[in-house]
């Protein structure tokens, strides 16, 4: 089944941090080949999301996240729009998203070269294209993207933090589950856009087909204050009110959890629309 369009909602909270180091861009790819920030209520036929969670002291994290989301959007958006008419978004995505990621990484590298005190800055990235063929993505870092379907929640992209490694150690009996869960290393990143070699990149092999009642959530890891089940519960509860309501409810739940040192949290919620007669 082909989605007729996408309902999009988004938002961000500062948490207990002093600066917002998350940055995201949600753009509409229009039929006349323009890439423009989404405006109005939609639905939108093709949506490009670039969500980055920056890191690095002082303003560096903000800069890295800004460069990453901006450059990725510009390069991927242009390439997707420039593709010959009738070409499949899914095929264009493989090359355009890789190129856009490389471009963002290069720009971060250039910035660090010009500002040596920013060395070590970086950002995660979720790049996602919502089109009639479904959801295509590219991702690096630990920012999660979830698919909620039939009361089941699944993480779509890879987690490049140490958490999966620790969980595996627990499974192999090298750690207790509790120790693995509490380990501060869980949030260490194995990969990010830092201007250096990209060691790990996760990219969809083919678009994920979307179905009626699906909810897709792209977020920074600040959302993980909420357990997966809770994310699902809130998202399903507010689904009927639209993507905007889901985004707001998720952020409110994070704030409500009142976690000390709550990280920045950003969410982009996308709900596919289908024609009734489809």
């Amino acid at each position: 089944m082909t989605p007729a369009g996408f309902d999009v909602g988004h938002g961000a909270i500062l948490g207990a941090r002093e600066a917002q180091e998350d940055e995201f861009r949600v753009s509409e790819l229009t039929s006349d080949g323009a890439v423009s920030p989404i405006a109005g209520d939609g639905p939108f036929t093709r949506v490009l999301v670039a969500l980055a969670d920056g890191m690095g002291g002082h303003a560096a994290g903000e800069v890295a996240a800004e460069i990453t989301s901006r450059v990725f959007t510009e390069v991927a958006g242009d390439k997707l729009c420039d593709a010959p008419a009738g070409s499949d978004d899914a095929e264009t995505w493989q090359a355009s998203s890789s190129d856009a990621l490389a471009a963002a990484n290069r720009d971060v590298a250039d910035y660090v070269k010009a500002h040596p005190n920013c060395d070590g800055m970086g950002a995660t990235l979720i790049g996602a294209l919502f089109s009639p063929s479904g959801l295509s993505w590219i991702s690096i870092g630990d920012s999660p993207m979830f698919l909620i379907r039939n009361r089941e929640i699944a993480r779509v992209n890879a987690d490049h933090s140490l958490a999966p490694v620790l969980d595996d150690m627990a499974r192999a009996g090298e750690l207790t589950r509790e120790a693995a869960r509490r380990d501060p290393r869980r949030h260490m990143l194995r990969a990010a856009i830092t201007g250096e070699t990209l060691d790990l990149v996760d990219q969809s092999a083919r678009p994920l087909e979307l179905a009626p009642d699906d909810i897709v959530i792209c977020a920074s890891d600040g959302i993980e204050t909420l357990a997966d089940d809770e994310i699902m519960r809130v998202a399903v509860g507010y689904r009927a009110d639209g993507a905007k309501a889901v985004a707001e409810a998720l952020l409110r739940s994070v704030e409500n959890a009142n976690v000390e040192r709550q990280d920045n949290a950003s969410v982009v919620v996308v709900i596919p629309w289908f024609r009734r007669d489809a």
């Binding site: 090298e174 990143l189 994920l208």
Partner: protein, 279 residues
């Protein structure tokens, strides 16, 4: 399966951008692909002399060791069949998009075997560099890769947690009750409504006669009439034309059915409290 092979080699089976993927991907949400460090030349830059060499080396070791350590996490439940109810549950759909493999159950098995075979061999190579990397991040200037924060663990709900009830005290269905859940609850006669008043009162709208919302942020219940419907709705004696707060034992009349509102969550309790108690 090429992907499996890559994984047995510790993910170092040579993956080029856009071609090969790690089989592990099949639903685990783990790295599907590891770029060879020399693959995209344009991504590399000269290492900055200021970077702590040892730190970089340690992190490299960590990332090298990691792909071996990556387990399938989600498919266990998916393969067990308990959560696979339809042709394309979320995990299966994700798995399909992640790799070229088709049989999720097969993959799970194979991944499981792989893990068993390897767990002893992996043990030696992994712990050391991880520990080294940690120790390093304590002192290294690039502390940004440690992103510690507490994570709340909540119990798993068997179903949507109930936040209150509507008890039918008049009309068809007398004596029955319907649970109210967090968020928005449509009230109507058809079963598609979250709160289905399906006891045969034809004067209740088929769909969305009204909405009852519970907002866990301010722990309040709101009754929202659907003004597009002409059927009679009243809260206590009034006919609300706009959202209004519900309080315990409010009487809601829809058609020929009378319901009493009984809150469970509110000032004294919210499901969110449990998480705080546990952690």
């Amino acid at each position: 399966m090429a992907g499996i092979t890559a994984k047995q080699n510790g993910g170092r089976g040579g993956s080029l951008l856009g071609s090969l993927r790690d089989a592990l991907a099949a639903a685990s949400g783990e790295e599907s692909r590891r770029l060879k460090t020399d693959a995209p030349a344009q991504l590399t830059r000269e290492p900055n002399a200021a970077i702590d060499e040892a730190h970089v080396a340690a992190m490299k070791d960590v990332t090298d060791a990691l792909p071996q350590a990556v387990p399938p996490t989600i498919p266990a439940s998916a393969a067990a069949g308990s959560s696979v109810k339809t042709a394309q549950p979320a995990t299966a759909a994700v798995a399909a998009a992640r790799g070229d493999q088709t049989a999720v159950a097969d993959l799970t098995l194979e991944a499981g075997e792989t893990r068993k075979l390897k767990s002893s061999a992996v043990r030696k190579t992994r712990t050391e560099p991880v520990a080294a990397a940690i120790a390093d991040t304590d002192t290294a200037p690039r502390t940004q890769i440690v992103r510690g924060k507490p994570k709340l663990q909540r119990g798993d709900f068997e179903q949507d947690p109930v936040v209150g009830w509507l008890v039918i005290i008049g009309g068809p269905g007398l004596g029955s009750y319907r649970p109210i859940f967090e968020g928005n609850n449509a009230v109507g006669r058809s079963e598609s409504n979250r709160i289905a008043i399906d006891f045969g009162d034809e004067s209740v709208s088929q769909t969305e006669q009204a909405f009852i919302r519970y907002d866990s942020a301010d722990r309040s219940f709101l009754f929202v009439p659907n003004l597009a419907k002409t059927n009679v709705v009243a809260v206590n004696e009034s006919r609300p034309a706009q959202p209004q707060k519900l309080k315990a034992m409010d009487l809601i009349t829809m058609g020929r059915t009378q319901l009493v509102f009984v809150p469970f969550c509110g000032a004294d309790f919210d499901w969110g409290d449990l998480g705080e108690i546990k952690s």
